[in-house]
């Protein structure tokens, strides 16, 4: 077990953990946290697999991809949080209705 695989496994773990939490929690703030954890998991996989083994240079392309991803994630989070506040104002609850509107 070396660093690369260790962090990659942690990344996969975070991804699935976030996925699980996203599906079981109903509060929207928690869903947003879960999405962010999932995102961190994906980023970790992306960079961990690019980590250098013994003195070689790390591949900078995944690093740049992750920085892009982090900015996209914060944008999406900001939008989602503002939407949560609006949903709360309109419906009184920070949750989605259980059944989709028919």
């Amino acid at each position: 077990m070396n660093t690369v695989y260790l962090y990659t496994m942690v990344g996969v773990g975070l991804f699935t953990l976030g996925l699980y939490a996203l599906l079981i929690h109903s509060h929207l703030l928690r869903k947003i946290l879960a999405i962010n954890v999932m995102g961190s998991g994906v980023f970790l996989v992306l960079v961990a697999l690019a980590a250098p083994t013994q003195g070689a240079v790390p591949d900078p392309v995944p690093h740049a991809m992750v920085i892009t991803g982090i900015v996209v994630a914060v944008s999406a989070t900001a939008l989602a949080l503002a939407l949560v506040l609006r949903v709360r104002t309109e419906t009184g609850r920070a949750e989605l209705p259980e059944e989709p509107l028919e």
Binding site: M38, V42, V45, A80
Partner: protein, 487 residues
């Protein structure tokens, strides 16, 4: 100055124009409508320019920054992306004209109306960038741009329904993107490239490739709303403002399908495999389920939204067939559905605007008061049902031909049943359009150009059928679907 017409980078212009339009309309809210229409017209012109290039010189590849794949990002335009761009341009031009009437002060608060334009132009820029991109990570960024702008546009309608469905849509969209991105990570680390063409040359089956097939497919199918992952679509498409519903149903769901199609055609050929059969099965269920649900709806926009679920099902029938004709049929269906569905949602918007509601049973002499809108709905309905000579007819005909050719008779039955269901729900609406309502409603004048736009787009869906050979020939440029003889 220094560049000839032959190498003018139309592809870049097509992306930069709506992007700049979005920024300008954010800066100068006073001029939004003028800017919207101007940008729409100039993008159409740029698409014509690119089309001319592609027809004259074949598929185009453009290295942004001059680096070229795999280091840089390439834009790529072949027949497939060109047709997507053309239909996007047509629909968006329509939406642009329609929205000058729809987002007026009587109906929307001005501050809200002003936000529509930049958001919508961001969406258009995202669509154009997506159809032109040849880089799977760049596709992720365009997907996010597309998803976030679509969500903001849905929420523009305000009210509890629109906001909750926008929220659900946002979560689904982000989830889909993350699945896609993880798939991209695995592909990159397997082959060290992000370019679709390079990947297609190097790809060979391995567990990582299969995992990324699964992740990318799940992510994009979620965004494309294939049954049973369609749950988010009807509420979102129903509660959005009418031009936004049109954009979502006509183009946004197709964008993720387009990526799926590209990946499956070029990177992982799954046509005809077990996975393809599964997708065909899900598509078939979507056709039947969406059709039945559409028939059960009491509100017009909900009916149209479920019809989208059903029509999206057709797109997946090509996967069990996997033949040259099947791909072309599906693309043809996609194009005609985009035009017809835009017209339908616009017609629904007109009816809603006029009577203040879209309860089908309470329609009051719609045909008499809004003849153009009724005609638009009927013509679009004809294309959705697949009546000759509409675009929908040609698409379904080709699909039937492909199904019969490969002897998969169950698909033939599904296609015919789907058509019958579509006929049932379209006629249900048209039937009520002639009746008188017992309840009298306050009515509002609908600007004439909103009615005409719907009609023109519906006519375009019909004309697509009459001019079928032309788009079918375009599809072969760059051979996205392989050699015709091989199929």
């Amino acid at each position: 100055m220094f560049i000839t017409m032959q190498e003018f980078p139309w592809a870049v212009i097509i992306i930069v124009l709506p992007l700049s339009g979005a920024m300008l309309s954010f800066l100068f809210p006073r001029w939004v409508k003028l800017l919207g229409v101007l940008v729409a017209l100039s993008v159409v012109a740029a698409v014509v320019g690119l089309g001319w290039q592609v027809v004259e010189q074949g598929a185009q590849r453009y290295a942004i920054g001059g680096w070229g794949a795999p280091l840089g990002i390439d834009l790529y335009a072949d027949g497939l992306s060109l047709l997507m761009l053309i239909v996007t341009a047509l629909v968006c031009l329509g939406v642009s004209v329609y929205s000058t009437g729809y987002f007026n002060r009587a109906y929307f608060r001005r501050s809200k109306a002003n936000y529509f334009w930049p958001l919508w132009m961001f969406l258009w820029a995202a669509l154009n960038a997506l159809f032109l991109s040849s880089d799977i990570f760049n596709l992720y960024v365009t997907l996010e741009l597309l998803g976030l702008s679509a969500v903001a546009l849905v929420a523009l309608a305000g009210g509890a329904d629109a906001l909750t469905s926008a929220m659900r849509y946002l979560l689904v969209s982000l989830l889909g993107s993350l699945f896609y991105l993880l798939g991209v990570a695995l592909l990159y680390h397997s082959f060290g490239s992000l370019d679709i063409v390079i990947l297609s040359q190097q790809v060979e089956p391995s567990p990582a490739v299969w995992a990324s097939v699964g992740l990318i497919s799940i992510g994009l199918l979620l965004k494309t709303a294939l049954f049973p992952m369609h749950f988010w679509l009807p509420p979102a498409h129903t509660s959005a403002p009418a031009p936004v519903s049109a954009l979502l149903s006509a183009l946004v769901v197709k964008a993720s399908f387009y990526i799926l199609l590209r990946m499956w055609l070029e990177i992982f050929p799954v046509g005809g495999t077990a996975l393809g059969q599964l997708l065909g099965l899900l598509g078939s269920i979507a056709i039947l389920w969406g059709g039945i649900q559409a028939l059960r709806q009491t509100r017009l926009k909900m009916l149209i939204a479920y019809s989208t679920v059903a029509q999206l099902g057709y797109l997946f029938l090509a996967f069990p067939l996997g033949s040259y004709i099947a791909w072309k049929a599906v693309l043809f269906l996609l194009l005609s559905h985009a035009l017809a569905k835009t017209a339908m949602f616009m017609a629904a918007g007109n009816i809603l605007h006029f009577g203040g509601h879209d309860r089908i049973k309470d329609f009051d002499h719609v045909v008499q008061y809004q003849p153009l809108t009724s005609a638009a709905f009927a013509l679009a309905g004809a294309s959705i049902m697949g009546l000759p000579p509409s675009g929908g007819f040609i698409g379904k005909w080709l699909l039937l031909e492909a199904a019969i050719h490969s002897g998969q008779w169950w698909l033939v039955i599904i296609i015919i049943m789907g058509g019958l269901l579509a006929a049932a729900y379209v006629f249900k609406v048209i039937g009520y359009a002639f009746t008188q309502s017992r309840v009298s409603h306050q009515t509002r004048r609908v600007p004439v150009h909103m009615e005409w736009t719907a009609l023109v787009l519906a006519l375009a869906a019909i004309l697509l059928g009459l001019a079928a050979p032309w788009p079918l020939a375009l599809m072969d440029i760059g051979l996205p679907f392989g050699e015709g003889a091989a199929g």
